[in-house]
């Protein structure tokens, strides 16, 4: 009985099985690079450059220790004359003929990414929500042109904007500041935020606000108390997309920051360090940097299509 298809359109069991195995093969192959980086972050530097590459290796936290610390090399006699290491990570460092010199800049860069990411997300979602509501409900003159103009700003090559923005920031002292990057990312995300949120607003029936306004709410009260709660999913989705963009952004961060406000993407490639061989530390930094995005991607899976098409395709 179970082999009879439900309708002539339902693919046969065999064709499903075949499709499934091809797709799963592709998925597994395409995930190997991510898995390999994750595994490399728990290897020793020696194992990370072994040939042929080892799949099963000794597990070590040396990559993470190197990621968070700076170390200096000492001679064997000096090392022997030191008191015994106090912590587990200190002994890991000692095993490499080195002593701890201090924390690395990774934490600073990571917190810059968090601060700038959340700051710009907050701003662009607040402004985007207001603009999207206006575009969705009010008669805005030149609405189509304005919306196209807003979207077109997303299409500009970042380096092309970076030239004048660099000069602008230099004139007003915003180069290498958190506020400079927050403003810039806010603006770049506004297009996505307005387009996505307008789609979500359009889906909320106008009757809700109209009913509220009949009950004596003003437009503003109706917006805050009726529309915003209804748009919560849309606002959350948009926030995550904005956050991921700001988190991943590289070109502006590379060109407009150098120290104080530098975010993770331009910093991670510089971790490789001494002799260019500290791959476990690079892998550890990459793992910690990518994990939040992977988590959010899974969380967002139903809205991904909508996000990457600026809300045009809703499935």
């Amino acid at each position: 009985m179970k082999n009879i298809p439900l309708s002539p359109l339902e693919p046969s069991a065999r064709s499903k099985w075949l499709a499934g195995s091809v797709v799963i093969t592709y998925a597994v192959i395409s995930l190997i690079p991510l898995l390999w980086i994750f595994m490399t972050s728990f290897r020793t530097p020696q194992d990370a450059i072994a040939y042929p590459p080892k799949v099963v290796t000794e597990q070590s936290l040396i990559g993470y220790v190197n990621l968070f610390t700076t170390r200096s090399r000492v001679s064997a006699e000096e090392l022997a004359s030191l008191p015994p290491p106090k912590t587990w990570y200190e002994s890991l460092v000692r095993d490499q003929q080195m002593i701890l010199a201090g924390p690395s800049r990774f934490i600073d860069r990571y917190s810059n990414s968090l601060l700038i990411g959340f700051g710009s997300t907050l701003l662009s979602v607040v402004l985007g929500t207001l603009a999207a509501y206006a575009f969705s409900r009010f008669r805005v003159p030149g609405k189509q042109d304005l919306l196209f103009f807003i979207l077109s700003t997303r299409m500009m090559p970042p380096i092309a904007i970076a030239i004048p923005v660099y000069l602008m920031f230099r004139n007003v002292g915003l180069n290498d500041t958190h506020i400079g990057l927050v403003l810039l990312y806010t603006v770049v995300n506004l297009s996505l935020s307005v387009w996505l949120l307008q789609g979500f607003m359009d889906e909320i029936p106008r009757e809700y606000e109209e009913a509220a306004m009949v009950d004596g709410y003003t437009r503003w009260q109706a917006f805050v108390k009726v529309v915003l709660p209804q748009a919560a999913t849309g606002i959350a989705t948009t926030s995550i997309f904005c956050l991921i963009f700001a988190w991943n952004e590289y070109a502006f961060a590379l060109l407009l920051t150098s120290g104080t406000a530098q975010t993770s993407p331009p910093f991670i490639p510089t971790i490789i360090g001494e002799g260019g061989l500290d791959w476990p530390a690079m892998a550890a930094g990459t793992t910690l940097f990518l994990l939040p995005v992977l988590f959010f991607t899974v969380l967002l899976r139903r809205h991904l299509l909508r996000g990457v098409t600026f809300g045009a395709i809703r499935k």
Partner: protein, 313 residues
Amino acid sequence: MSYVQTRLIASTPMRFRLLSAQGLSDRALAWLFVGPTIVLLLAFNIFPLLWTIYLSFTNFRANRPNADTLWVGISNYQRVLGDETIWENFRATAHFLVWSIALQLLLGFGLALLLNRRFRSHSFWSTAILLPMMLAPAVVGTFWKYFFEPQYGIFNYIINFFGGPGTFTMLGDTQLSPWAIVLVDTWMWTPYVMLLLLAGLRSIPAYLYEAAEIDRASAWTKFWRITLPMVMPFIILALLFRTIENFKMFDLVDQLTNGGPGSVTELASIHLKREAFEKWRTGYASALAIIMFVSIYGLSLVAVRFLDKVKQR
């Protein structure tokens, strides 16, 4: 005055009542809501764009802000378009665009067709496939450098395992390096094309296939006469979006090859960064930026047209 309006005014606090009573409130509110967005976009997009246009007609150099800035007319544009290396950059860009997008469309469409058969656990695997496209391109470039290491990279090992040429350097070879960026970009963005085309496939109404079934159309006919034409707007949309993104693509290539070896992978955007922020030829770089922007803007116009078309489904 109707019952509704009376009630509305009666229960509204004073400051709101003034606005709503005049009937101006919605309009004022509209400007209040859209205003900040427009102001920010003007300040950070239109003003810089105008400035870039101005700079492109001057000999300004950002590392010598105090030197005299001279108006040089269209000579920057003449130099950009007459420059032999620019055409090499555009050739490198074209190679990258054509191959990466062709591969992504082929693989993405194939995967979408297979996923559309809704085998068990298909939604789990489609999420798994989507992961690479959400990652930071610059960081992706960094860790692929590790896989491409000639001495111990896992990519080289796998190629050699299947009878590869022994030691080879993906990123150091002028023949291979352009393919390295195509490969990594395809790995990263095939999921995007798959996602769009899957949506296209799912938008096809079932009755079309039912009708074809009654007419005893072959699977081949159904594909050419129903599936392909119905998915075509989505294919064009994917094509346009990928072209725009890859034309301005900077971060992945900057980290993976930094334009090298020599300049075989120096895409237009990498060249732009070198002129603007390494050689500090701001005027020249601005002219190149404007040329790139105009090309992308043209594509965007077409893309938005198709976005509207697809939206109507």
